[in-house]
Subunit: 359 residues, 2 copies
């Protein structure tokens, strides 16, 4: 018997509905104790990577590496892609943490910051010297998502900088044009509905060249998880360290399930489910979308201003078997967050929206 509550927390979130069966198969096939230097591991690795390439429509100049978390990728990104300066668009706790990590690593980290719940628009001045522009596609703390054309515009205006996108709580939903970006990353416990403990880092050849250039200048870019080391192992379908083998296996299986369903359907369903919620909020007298400007309303993490109703709404949802996400940090008492990931069925969303509507 499986855990029956529907988990709307934005990460770790509800498991993709096939995960438990894949876990059982993994035990039958000896995956949890499989050597990471075996041929069988290499084929598991290759399957996960090729599935992701297909699902995300990733161009061939991109490479895929595995880390322990997306938090690790923040650090590795700065170590490997920044010599002196990075520039960050900050509009919430997670984009702010990326900015802070750059400073902690001794770089000159610059930012353009707006209030929580807001997005950005041009004109927005980027220091011409910056080597990296860091954009958080979907701020998990506030439910603000940035339009893709806005993100791509940095590439046009600042072609020499590397454009890095944190897509932790949005993929596999966004249909990125990766040729207009240089690096995109996520962790598996959100949109992919997998147990936490694995980050996925996608970089193009320009990123590899930048890391090599830093090495040639005598800069330290870390050790076992620097880009050249990750790359030389990835070419053999291996990892530098003993990785989360089970996590990579489960990712490959879920990606394969998603491919059967199709990326297109996942996108359409995500939009339909988010429409249900936002549409109800427009008409509700006491529950409101926290993000006012529709241009910036996330499809995958939706934040509700629940005010005095917060406790009552939470209780009512829990009674019907639904676990809402708390508002982030100090917003815990007056906001609720709802993940809208591929595993959240239309029926779950209809039940959620009906329950909220009746409050």
């Amino acid at each position: 018997m499986s855990y029956s509550k529907i988990n709307f927390t934005p990460g770790p979130s509800q498991l993709y509905f096939t995960v438990e069966d894949h876990m059982k198969q993994a035990f039958r096939d000896g995956i949890p104790s499989l050597s990471h230097r075996s041929k069988k591991f290499e084929s598991i690795y290759a399957e996960a990577v090729s599935g992701l390439r297909q699902l995300l429509n990733l161009p061939s100049e991109y490479h895929i590496y595995f880390t322990g978390s997306a938090t690790e990728i923040w650090e590795r990104t700065v170590q490997n892609l920044v010599g002196e300066t990075s520039f960050h668009l900050v509009n919430g706790s997670f984009s702010k943490r990326f900015f802070e990590i750059s400073g902690q690593l001794g770089k000159l980290a610059m930012k353009h910051e707006v209030a929580a719940g807001e997005g950005f628009s041009h004109p927005l001045e980027v220091p011409p010297s910056t080597e990296l522009i860091a954009v958080t596609h979907n701020e998990t703390s506030t439910g603000v998502s940035l339009p893709l054309d806005f993100i791509y515009s940095f590439k046009t205006k600042h072609p020499d900088a590397l454009l890095v996108v944190d897509a932790v709580s949005s993929l596999p939903y966004p249909d990125f044009d990766y040729s207009k970006l240089d690096s995109v990353f996520f962790s598996v416990q959100k949109g992919f509905g997998l147990p936490a403990g694995l980050g996925v880092w996608m970089v193009n050849d320009r990123c590899l060249a930048k890391a090599e250039q830093l090495v040639s200048k005598g800069r330290s870019i870390g050790t076992y998880h620097n880009l050249p080391t990750l790359h030389s192992h990835a070419l053999k379908n291996q990892t530098p360290e003993t990785p989360n083998v089970l996590g990579i296996y489960l990712l490959g299986q879920v990606v394969s399930d998603m491919l059967r369903h199709s990326a297109h359907k996942i996108r359409k369903e995500t939009e339909y489910k988010s429409f249900l919620l936002y549409n109800m909020l427009k008409k509700h007298s006491r529950l409101k979308a926290f993000v006012k400007d529709e241009t910036f309303q996330s499809r995958t993490v939706m934040v509700v201003d629940s005010g005095d109703l917060t406790e009552k709404v939470t209780k009512s949802l829990l009674e019907k078997g639904m676990q809402p996400g708390d508002g982030y940090g100090s917003a815990k008492k007056h906001q609720l967050r709802f993940a809208n990931f591929p595993t959240h069925a239309k029926e779950h969303f209809e039940l959620l929206v009906d329950t909220l509507e009746s409050m």
Copy 2:
């Protein structure tokens, strides 16, 4: 039905025999999608840590942190505990990698190196200036284990240096006197019989003070996984990043099982099983222990010089449902490695030894 082959590879190795049941319970309890900021996670974290403290008899001045792998701990150790110089005892591929990582991070890494299969003995000169002495208790590549008194002697002779012990493929077997060490670490896919993807880093207060001292001198000690950040989160039974929640849960469960069995029994059984194998090898005409000096023969990873018989032995073991570990690296064609971890039952070892004896 579970995977039935007995896995003697030294890591990832055979799962501890209770892991599959714990995984089923984890799914029933919603652990794979549990928020790492929930009270329930904090209690899971606390249970794993207090169980480990008890099993290893860890003094209160030690702290326990979780990372993605033991490879990560090599890097974090150098970042957090070395300003200028480290000294490494190198006698195989893993102790060598620890040494190399220090150099890669721009430190002056010094070493005393002996041939593969050999141990160390005094007099052994340690540069008086070194800030850290790195010892690999059990070289997984060669099956060489260092006597505990030899390791402790560095503490007596060099009290100002931090003494760090890689116990990746030996714990929970060794009964360390932690007061004579400063940091010990391991990964869970070896002696603890868990799926790979989690490193366990134990440090005392001197290590925390050293990291703080490096910060005060303006040195970079990394970001989310530096010691002060790990420590401030550990005080709340939390981790800085979204961790391998399932891995921490399973570790706590297996440690609890091991406590019921008792650390003492685990040690006695480990010694009995290793005696069976080494004793047979002494009498065998064609299979020999690779490590000649009994003082250095590992109890937990035993390496057999199998020469021309390697292929035949492997085939014979596989036919009986036993998976031997390949010799490491270039020794693949003429050596076999056998893990002797708590999950390997006496009966498994008797079958293994009988089969090898008959070759």
